[in-house]
Amino acid sequence: MLQTRRTVTFGLVAALGAALLKPVRALAAWNQGAFQAKSTLDGMNALGITNPQDTQDIVIRAPDIAENGAVVPMDITSNIPGTTSISVFIEKNPFPYTGTFDFAAGAVPFVHLRAKIGESTPVRVVVAAGGKFYTAAKEVKVTIGGCGG
């Protein structure tokens, strides 16, 4: 379903042409079901992600221990040919599904983002490529705060 939505979106873009003024995203619905899912699995189901294969070809560069859970920087790179999107799940956040990043027309499958992490958690990444899903995860530990004053 994830894959289908992207294809439809890009098809529309092509149909309307490059001079399209409105942002493409306005045409695709923000997936409320996935974003409100309380587990990674439910989020994946809502996005139509099925049977993601474990892979070494997704590189997640994030801190082993984050200095501040309010801003955890991550660089995510997919080395899988034909990557069209990268989705991020912060497994122990109240709503794990954090976002999907789509690459088209020559964008390199890489994204840098900064996210809020409530407690130590695996950060799971799912890549869509060639109609299949691939996944990798990285543990991020969040320490508690400073003086509390």
Partner: protein, 208 residues
């Protein structure tokens, strides 16, 4: 020094006179400016800018008083310790752990004896000390207190030391950076007993 004297001339004869006594003049001028530029907020009144004898002495000696002066200061501070009327020095280590974790109290928005959230004042202990093994985010300004009782013994003398050190740290090291939790009215007698138990109860995780 000469330039400073000139600059301070405008401040009036009293300032000049104090300046002639040396670096103390700069200290006095700094205090005057702080008293002018600071305003009271809630429980933090202007009296907090008035140094007591110990604070003034520590500033005077750059926190390193000569032995004789240090002994005198420590003796006076030890005399401020109010011992529990019931003679019991150890409370509940579980309560002590909470007090050790909490870093709030005594600041602008806090209330007398309570934090702005209505909790009892904290002791901020983990800010500076390693204590229980479960907390890895501890500070290092003070020494590690892990296995405090196990290493020193659980006797009455060590219990008294732990209680008095929490009550008035300056009774042992005149210009220690550790607050005087009993003397300043930050912690209650029961809270100090609970902290002493955290360090001294053989059942406390500190001593495992």
């Amino acid at each position: 020094m000469k330039l400073k004297t000139l600059a301070l001339l405008a401040g009036g004869a009293t300032v000049l006179a104090s300046c002639a006594t040396g670096p103390g003049g700069t200290h006095r001028e700094a205090v005057r400016l702080m008293q002018r530029d600071f305003k009271p907020v809630g429980i933090a009144g202007m009296d907090r800018l008035k140094q007591d004898e110990l604070q003034a002495a520590c500033n005077k000696y750059n926190n390193d008083p000569p032995k004789e002066a240090a002994d005198k200061l420590q003796k006076a501070q030890y005399a401020t310790v109010k011992w529990p009327a019931d003679g019991k020095l150890l409370g509940n280590w579980k309560e002590g752990e909470k007090i050790a974790q909490r870093g709030r109290g005594m600041a602008w928005n806090d209330k007398p004896g309570k934090t702005s959230r209505g909790e009892p004042n904290g002791g901020s202990c983990y800010n500076c000390h390693q204590i229980g093994p479960a907390t890895t985010s501890f500070g290092t300004i003070g020494p590690s207190l892990y296995q405090f009782g196990k290493l020193r013994g659980y006797g009455q003398d060590i219990q008294r030391y732990a209680y008095a050190k929490i009550y008035n740290a300056k009774a042992y090291v005149a210009c220690s950076e550790m607050p005087r939790f009993g003397h300043s009215g930050t912690l209650t007698e029961q809270q100090m007993k609970d902290l002493a138990a955290l360090l001294m109860d053989p059942a406390s995780p500190v001593n495992q």
